[in-house]
Structure formats: structure tokens, C-alpha cells
């Protein structure tokens, strides 16, 4: 505010170097690119380091950059990533939800109890309606708990920090009271798929490629549409080369990720069982212990290069997380709801004076958070194939950490959905990587905490230099 600027005449254009021109033309966010770079450094670092300890078939000889590990990483990230999208909007609105972890366990446990002790006996185990009722129940429960948090914050005027701190404690008590610390298992067989549990919980290469192609087409259409819209009213447009660059890079990223998830094969034992159950013949072949496929060498089933093989493709929870990210980005940037959330975060008084009902808006954002927590609760309990009251422990902190690493300002008004999801991926990469390297959990926690603080510090420096 203190700097008197005279860029009305844009004198900077003259001295602009090629790098600056590139970023201005493509309208790429350098901060996001920095995060992607950090992510790649972490990935390569883990792969190289794990390769030194125990060589494997990863890109740099380690075990991190393998399709198997990256696929697992994507599934592990999805729960936190889903919740982080809602937390972004809350923090942008200068609110906070510390209760998401406890909410997750409450919803997971309640949904588990409903499936196993109520719906199972009533409809018969495995009834096709069970998973639908369970999912709807979880979503409604999430919305209700969120609304409760929101009403206390917005209408009773209790600070969100206190409301949700109380919730953090109270909801974990609810989860305990529901099952007295027992474990509810197993989940319904269709419900399980939502967690990426089992070979059928991924959509396979064909649909993965189809989806990837559709995503590329959407990307190109989106760029074209933006161009047409801006052309309609004669606004300045990106140069053609910049548009092409974005289209090519975006498509390459989509196709690259798809290629990776499509090269992760089912485990041989699972292929064998699946073949037996479905009467698929296993072809004869030559044994090769590095192969992904299975074949018959005499009477024995062995691994080989040529034979029967199934690849996983995208796991269902990952698709859910991507869909949530897409929907939330749309909500945040293309609807008046999102616009109000950002405006209210930038200046609550101005939003109120503009005629926005900021209290009701707050309740809606808390409800949205609750629904997203419910989605994560479904994913987490389905993945574990069980519900316990320890699910979701410390999740509130991981979610907030992901959001903050993703560039959301705790002062409100600033933050992006994709940033938070990248933040979630970064956090999970660190944790998985250290697990892979057999770090003790105490050291893992130290590293993750240190990274969080460092990331915010670096971000502060970056923002200060920008001004």
C-alpha cells in the first residue's frame, strides 16, 4: 500500500527479459511452478537415496519413482487432498476447521456401524443398495456436522477456532462412544471399491486412456473458449505460441500420469485368483522374475514377460479426488458463491456492505467442508475396509499444513484449490518417501513439521520480493 506506483503507463514492458515475457504471456503462476519443482526434487531425491540403499527399478535406480509407488502415493493422497479443497475456502474466508479429523472418524464409524450392524442384517449382506445408503448417510451427516459448526461460528459469534477446537475433542468422543473403541469391519464389497481397495477398484487402462483423452480435449476446448470469449470484447489475448505451449504441456502431463498408472500391474497372485474365478485361461510361457504378467510353466504359475496381465489405471479414490478438485475449482472461480468467499475473506465488512449475507455464506462453507470430510471418511474407511475411532487422527493438522504449503494465506483472501492439492501431494510424498526409507516415525514427524515451517518461510520471502 505504501508504494506509490505509476504502472498505468506500464514502463516495465520495455525492459522485460525473455523469462519474464514467457511468464506474462503464458499467465503461469511462478509460485505453483516452484511447488511442482520442489515436488520433483523430493521425488528424485527419494528415488536416488533409496537406490543407494537398495537398488530397484525406479527411474534413478531407487524404489520411489516406480509405477507401484506413485500409484500408491496417489491413493494415499486422495483423502487429505479432498479435505484440503474445503479448508482452502474456509481459511480464505478467515475461518478454520480444527475438527475435520474427529469429524472424519465420527462419520466413518457411524457409516460403518450403519452398514455392518444395521443395513447388513436388514437388507442382507452384499445388497446393492447398501453402499448407496451408506454414502448418502455419510454425506448428509457431514453436512449436518458442518452446519452445526457453521451456525455456532456465524450466528452465535463464537470464533471458529474455539468452535472447532471443541469439535476436535467432542467429535472424537462421539466416535469412541459409538463403538467403544472397537473396529467395525468388513465394509460392504461395493463400498470398499471407493477406497481403491482390491483390483477392481481401479478403472483399468482402457478407461484411464479414455479419460485422459477427454481431459486433454477439455483442456484445449477451455483454452479455445477463453480465447473466443476475450476476442468477443477485444481484450488482449495470449500469443498463439503461449496457448499452444500450455495445451501441449498440459496434455503431456495428463498423458504422462496416465501412462504411469497404466503401467502398474496387479500383483501376480491377484491376477491368478482373478483368472481362476472368472475362468480365464493362463497362457503358457517362459518364466521371467521381473515380468508383470503370469503364465504357465508346466503346471506352475510363474511370472513372465508375455502372458496374462492386468494393469490398474486410475484408482477410484484418485478419480474422486480429481473430480472434487475440478468441481471445487469451478465453484471457487466461476460461481458467485466462490467470488463471495474470496471477497468476504479480503474484506468482510465490504462484503457485508455489498449486500452479501456473510453469515449464511459462512454456514454454507462449513457445510461444504463437512461434505468433503464425509467423502474423505468414505475413502479412508473403504480403503482400510474397516472403521475405527482412530481414523482421521491428526488429519486436521495435515489438511491445514497442505493448505498452507499450497499458498493459502492464514490472513484470508488468498489461496487456490490446486495449490492445496499439490500441498497435500507434497506432504504425502514426504511421508511415503520416509516410510520407504524406513525412517522412524519420530523423525518423520520432525521432518514434516520442519518442511511446513520452511515452506511458509520461503513463501513469505517470495511474496515480499514480489511486492
Amino acid at each position: 500500500m505504501s508504494s506509490v506506483s505509476s504502472s498505468d503507463d506500464a514502463p516495465a514492458l520495455v525492459e522485460e527479459g525473455p523469462v519474464a515475457r514467457f511468464f506474462r504471456a503464458t499467465e503461469l503462476d511462478t509460485r505453483t511452478l516452484g511447488m511442482v519443482a520442489a515436488l520433483l526434487v523430493i521425488w528424485v531425491g527419494f528415488d536416488v537415496y533409496s537406490g543407494m540403499l537398495r537398488p530397484n527399478e525406479g527411474l534413478f535406480g531407487g524404489s520411489f519413482l516406480t509405477p507401484r509407488n506413485l500409484w500408491t502415493l496417489s491413493v494415499q493422497t486422495s483423502s487429505i487432498a479432498v479435505m484440503s479443497t474445503g479448508m482452502v475456502l474456509l481459511i480464505v474466508m478467515r475461518q478454520l476447521d480444527l475438527s475435520v479429523g474427529s469429524m472424519l472418524s465420527t462419520i466413518a464409524v457411524a457409516t460403518g456401524v450403519l452398514q455392518v450392524f444395521e443395513l447388513g442384517p436388514w437388507l442382507g449382506v452384499g445388497h446393492p443398495a447398501i453402499w448407496i445408503i451408506a454414502v448418502l448417510f455419510a454425506l448428509v451427516l457431514g453436512a449436518l456436522i458442518g452446519a452445526f459448526n457453521g451456525v455456532l461460528t456465524a450466528y452465535a459469534g463464537i470464533p471458529a477456532f474455539i468452535v472447532t477446537l471443541g469439535g476436535l475433542i467432542a467429535y472424537s468422543g462421539v466416535a469412541w462412544a459409538l463403538i467403544r473403541g472397537e473396529t467395525v469391519a468388513p465394509m460392504d464389497k461395493t463400498f470398499k471399491l471407493i477406497g481403491g481397495n482390491g483390483p477392481l477398484a481401479s478403472i483399468g487402462p482402457f478407461w484411464s486412456w479414455t479419460l485422459a483423452a477427454a481431459a486433454c480435449a477439455l483442456l484445449v476446448l477451455g483454452l479455445l473458449n477463453g480465447r473466443r470469449q476475450r476476442g468477443r470484447v477485444n481484450f488482449p489475448q495470449r500469443p498463439i505460441w503461449a496457448e499452444a505451449f500450455l495445451a501441449v504441456c498440459g496434455s503431456a502431463a495428463i498423458l504422462g500420469v496416465t501412462a504411469i498408472v497404466n503401467s502398474y500391474a496387479w500383483a501376480p497372485k491377484i491376477i491368478e485368483n482373478y483368472a481362476k474365478e472368472n475362468n480365464i485361461p493362463i497362457p503358457p510361457g517362459v518364466e521371467d522374475r521381473t515380468g508383470d504378467a503370469i503364465c504357465m510353466a508346466g503346471d506352475a504359475v510363474v511370472r513372465c514377460n508375455e502372458g496374462l496381465v492386468f494393469y490398474t489405471g486410475y484408482a477410484i479414490p484418485v478419480l474422486i479426488a480429481l473430480a472434487v478438485g475440478f468441481a471445487m475449482t469451478f465453484l471457487a472461480s466461476r460461481t458467485s458463491f466462490g467470488r463471495y468467499v474470496y471477497a468476504a475473506g479480503g474484506n468482510p465488512e465490504a462484503a457485508e456492505l455489498s449486500g452479501i449475507n456473510t453469515r449464511w455464506l459462512t454456514v454454507k462453507v462449513f457445510m461444504l467442508m463437512g461434505v468433503l470430510v464425509a467423502i474423505s471418511a468414505i475413502i479412508t474407511s473403504a480403503r482400510l475396509d474397516a472403521a475405527t475411532n482412530s481414523l482421521g487422527q491428526l488429519n486436521e493438522l495435515y489438511v491445514i499444513a497442505a493448505v498452507v504449503i499450497g499458498g493459502t494465506s492464514l490472513a484470508g483472501g488468498v489461496g487456490t484449490i490446486y495449490g492445496a492439492m499439490l500441498g497435500a501431494l507434497l506432504m504425502q510424498s514426504l511421508q511415503s518417501g520416509m516410510t520407504l526409507l524406513n525412517f522412524e516415525s519420530a523423525y518423520k514427524d520432525m521432518v514434516v513439521g520442519a518442511v511446513l515451517v520452511t515452506a511458509v518461510f520461503v513463501d513469505q520471502i517470495y511474496r515480499r520480493r514480489l511486492k
Binding site: S7, G346, L353
Partner: protein
């Protein structure tokens, strides 16, 4: 002026925790008229006007718009009656751009119900072109703009939606001499279009230049109302400082009892 008043506020009172911020204040405004509202800081001018704009809810009193009783309980209600306000604080959402601020709460939508950012920016370019032709920073959050640019965004927001009644709370407080003159021109132009304007200021010269009438407040009460042609600046100063109502003014409840 025999026409119906555009706005008539009768016996408005509001108290904050025992302090009577506005105490039985009455005020009216006719089409094409500029009424200056004067008084010290804390005299109750901003509070009175925030009741009209819907930011505060009055404890008692009535508001009539073109002779009909109006229900104004929040800013949305006020906007429905064509009351637009330029707040002293500007009330801009600092983190979004000029077009988003201009249309905040009244966004233009595409036919699918999504935000039509392109149309909003195009409209913003039009109206800003009228107010501040050198303004080009449409993509930047308004926090990065200069004081004058932010002010023009706030003004653009008030005039874009065809206001009938415009409230300007210290509109020139953050401006340099040239921009202040521009605001003056704008006030005259809007007045000529038949818009009624409340001008709140503690700069008595500004008010005398632009206003047809002045209303002076002190300690939450109206000291008096006068046509600017019937009183001198010194007399108005006397109203502001002492609460002394001169012969040319109509005394209000806050006028100092005159020793006859």
C-alpha cells in the same frame, strides 16, 4: 421545492451500548439536490447515513422513499430502493480486481449461471473509462491500486447501477487536489441527471461549493438545516462547534437554546 422528497428520514434514533449515536434526527433530500451533512467526528453523520444505506439497523424512526415508507434492514434492501453508497473506507474487497468489486453482490452471469468475467470486465472498462480514462489495471487486485484509483472503483460501483440516491461519505478524503476537482465535476453531473446526493464531509469549503443545503449534526442530534445561500460559512462553523443555530437556518432538536 414542492416536489415529493426523494428521501425523508423522520426521528431516526440508534444507540450503541447506551450511547445515543443518533438521537431523533430528521433529514430530507429532493431529486437533483445535494445535501451536505456536516459535523465533528463522532457527531453521528456517518451513523445516520449508514442507517439509510442499510449497514446499521435503526432503533426507532421511519424512512420514506418518494413518499412511501421503506423497509431498510440491510444493504440489499437499500440497493433495491436505488440507494448507493461510497463509504469513507471505500469498502472494497482488496484481494479481487476492479470488475469483481464493481459487481460484488450483483455479478453478471452467463446463461449457465456461472460468472461472466469477460462481460464484467468489459463493463468495468466502460464505466472506468468515463471516470478515470488512464485506468488500465483491470487484472490486479485493488490493493495494488493507488488511493485515487481505488476511489474511482468505489465511485464506479455506486454510479454503475443507476442510483437514484447517492451517499458519499468523505469522498475526497484520500484524494489530491486534481482528483478532488474531478469528484466535484462528477457530483454536478449526477445532480444534473436528477440524482439526490448526500455529501458527508468535515471540509466546509467542499460542502459550500457543491451543496444546495447543509445539515449540521452535533452529539447525535441535528443542530439545524439551512440553504447554503441563506447562511455564511462562519455561521455554519458556529453550528458545528457551538450548536448555535443562525437565523437563516431551520433549527433541529440539537440547537443550542437561544438566549432571546
Amino acid at each position: 421545492m414542492t416536489a415529493k422528497p426523494l428521501v425523508e428520514m423522520r426521528n431516526i434514533s440508534i444507540a450503541f451500548g447506551g450511547i445515543r449515536a443518533v438521537d431523533h434526527a430528521s433529514l430530507d433530500l429532493f431529486p437533483g439536490e445535494v445535501v451536505g451533512l456536516l459535523g465533528h467526528n463522532g457527531a453521528g453523520k456517518s451513523t445516520l447515513i449508514k442507517i439509510l444505506s442499510g449497514a446499521y439497523r435503526r432503533d426507532s424512526g421511519d424512512i420514506y422513499i418518494t413518499g412511501e415508507k421503506a423497509e431498510i434492514n440491510n444493504p440489499r434492501d437499500a440497493k433495491k430502493y436505488g440507494i448507493e453508497t461510497i463509504y469513507q473506507t471505500l469498502a472494497l474487497a482488496d484481494n479481487v480486481d476492479a470488475a469483481a468489486n464493481l459487481f460484488l453482490g450483483r455479478e453478471l452471469k452467463t446463461r449457465w449461471g456461472t460468472l461472466d468475467d469477460v462481460s464484467m470486465e468489459a463493463e468495468a472498462r466502460k464505466v472506468m473509462g468515463r471516470l478515470n480514462p488512464r485506468f488500465r489495471r483491470f487484472k490486479e487486485p485493488v490493493i495494488k491500486l493507488s488511493g485515487g484509483q481505488r476511489q474511482s472503483v468505489a465511485i464506479a460501483r455506486a454510479i454503475y447501477f443507476n442510483a437514484r440516491i447517492l451517499i458519499m461519505d468523505e469522498p475526497t478524503a484520500a484524494l489530491g487536489p486534481q482528483e478532488t476537482a474531478q469528484v466535484g465535476e462528477l457530483v454536478k453531473q449526477l445532480k444534473a441527471e436528477g440524482i439526490g446526493i448526500f455529501l458527508i464531509s468535515h471540509d466546509i469549503h467542499d460542502v459550500f461549493d457543491l451543496a444546495d443545503r447543509v445539515c449540521v449534526m452535533k452529539n447525535g442530534q441535528v443542530v439545524g438545516t439551512a440553504r447554503t445561500s441563506d447562511v455564511t460559512q462562519d455561521e455554519v462553523l458556529g453550528m458545528i462547534i457551538l450548536g448555535k443555530c443562525p437565523p437563516g437556518a431551520v433549527p433541529g432538536p440539537g440547537a443550542m437554546p437561544m438566549a432571546a
